[in-house]
């Protein structure tokens, strides 16, 4: 079974990110790392290929400057190869532009039985790319998977809901987004790290994919970032003095927040 996993390489959340005042977008000129939320999809894909007893995991990513550091992490975990789309014309792409490019890159990656994504990236948070890819590829879309089982030509998914999960089934190939935290991503092994440097990364531009530069990037974006502003400082917390009834006040507050 061949699984394609869409992975995003993002600025390291451990370093304070910065917005570019001119483009009003996140600066991505520094070192990029594998988005942690994608590591669950990579792990899930590796487990599914293992369970199927054959096949391989291919990564698909879009990043500036031919960045591969994050891809190498996923290759070191066990993915076999990657398609990386890097093109100056992609700067400013919105979610739909990104989806157009990823859909083409998925086609380039070869015949896929299953396409996995995260539910959303940890830097952009639009959370719409998986469904858009499915639409562009005319494939079924299942979101928020907490468990995936492949059974012949169909996939069974436990789809996470607020109260539990729904059992969902659809034919393959399909696009499934994986909820963060549902599997424990493996550590890249040292042998994997050593092997990763020789695994193929097919780096392509828009021309290679047959994508019109006018349909993506700033040119094709259907959205415009009008203004960026500093978030308000977090308000001071509420201090509850215990006069013997504090527990009731805390329970009421939690009830108001619908936590209890």
């Amino acid at each position: 079974m061949n699984v394609v996993v869409c992975v995003k390489q993002i600025p390291d959340p451990a370093d304070p990110g910065a917005l570019d005042p001119n483009t009003k977008t996140l600066k991505r000129d520094g070192k990029l790392i594998l988005d942690e939320s994608d590591s669950y999809g990579v792990e899930m894909a590796l487990q599914l290929v293992d369970a199927a007893g054959g096949g391989e995991v291919t990564l698909v990513s879009m990043a500036p400057n031919g960045e591969t550091a994050g891809l190498r992490t996923a290759l070191a975990m066990g993915a076999a190869k990657a398609v990386l789309v890097s093109d100056d014309a992609l700067q400013g792409s919105d979610a739909l532009g990104t989806s157009k490019v990823l859909a083409k890159a998925i086609e380039r990656a070869g015949q896929a039985d299953l396409i996995l994504t995260a539910t959303e990236s940890s830097d952009g948070y639009t959370g719409t790319v998986p469904e858009q890819i499915a639409e562009l590829l005319s494939l079924p879309s299942v979101t928020f998977a907490k468990s995936i089982t492949v059974d012949g030509s169909s996939v069974k998914v436990q789809r996470q809901t607020e109260s539990g999960y729904d059992d969902v089934e659809c034919p393959l190939p399909a696009v499934v987004s994986v909820t963060a935290g549902v599997v424990e991503p493996r550590y890249p092994s040292f042998k994997g790290i050593m092997a990763a440097k020789s695994k193929p990364v097919d780096q392509v531009g828009l021309g290679d994919l047959g994508v019109d530069a006018g349909s993506v990037g700033w040119a094709g974006a259907g959205q415009e970032i009008v203004e960026i502003a500093t978030a308000e400082a977090r308000a001071a917390s509420t201090v509850v003095e215990d006069d013997g009834e504090a527990f009731q006040k805390i329970v009421d507050m939690l009830a108001e927040l619908k936590i209890v």
């Binding site: 890249p188 092994s189 994997g192 790290i193 050593m194 990763a196």
Partner: protein, 401 residues
Amino acid sequence: MSHAPIPNGADPLDLLGTDTLLTDEERLLRDTVRKFVADKVLPDVGEWFDAGTFPKEMAKEFGALGVLGMHLEGYGCAGTSATAYGLACTELEFGDSGARSFVSVQGSLAMFPIWAFGSEEQKQEWLPGMAAGDLIGCFGLTEPDSGSDPSSMRTTARQDASGDWILNGAKMWITNGSIADVAVVWARTDPDGPDRGAVRGFVVPTNSSGFSAPAIHRKVSLRASVTSELVLEDVRLPASAVLPGVSGMRGPLSCLNEARFGISFGSVGAARACYEAALAYAGERVQFDKPIAGFQLTQRKLVDMMVKVQRGTLLALHLGRAKDEGTLTTPMISFGKMDNVRMALEVAREARSVLGANGITTEYPVIRHMNNLESVYTYEGTNEIHTLILGQAITGLQAFS
């Protein structure tokens, strides 16, 4: 008079930006071990230290990661650079010197001699299992009466008419001894035999009759590590148990060079852990209505620690690059082991003083590292012996005896 402003974004944990000296691959490997240590070592190491144990199950975790014998080629080993091995040692010892000691002993002292001097059969029999962490190794050189002068060892290996070797003697301060499946034991051969009394290495399965490895208790240092005595009473081994590729003290000393190289890196990790703990504590601890980090005496301590850790990092990296280029010499290794362990111990003591009374409990990592480093200061060539190796290197005069 105007001053250039302190640049925003200066990293208090890497002011010199030494991170830029690493390749992407080295960084990935370093970050992987860092995460492993954060997940699997740091949450429990205080308790291991308190209880005086090192869980044997960690061997398989280390094996799955690929850290055991990682810089060796083939036989299930990852085949990384020496620098990468060093970086892993730094991260492991950031957790605890016991964790790094386990990995040093397995990779540099037990696997390395089999890999470098063993027969093909010995390599096939032991190395894949040791790389996976299914088999644990130890290294027997030091004896109760033979420490800095290992060639004075009393353990003997005698070959009988059938060709079997018979080992007798005792080894002391052996990391992993009581949990080991295999011991690489160095013993002096018969002066009248074919080896003319040379020291030879033997691969000794620990289930051999006459072999025992009682644990050494009542340690106040390296408590999260198993330390043992090895007792050899007429341990009979087949002729094939000897390491064929080396004869004389060059064998064990080359292993020690491997391990000492790792310690040059490892000690930086312990120092960094102490510095980070002190920096964080000084920022939060308020006395006289301000964080103690705002007092001049404390800033002096923090800066001293930071400078030492950064300098130690550069030294270790330099040695790593030299080892990968094949230009690393024994005095250079002594420089690294001597100076970085001494540095780490100084940083630990300084950090302890910043933490005040809180510095003496295992709630914080500092005194655990400080106590551990007292062992690291002495093992793998004492600070004094490394000083004399360097003294000889710069004067041409040997002052050992």
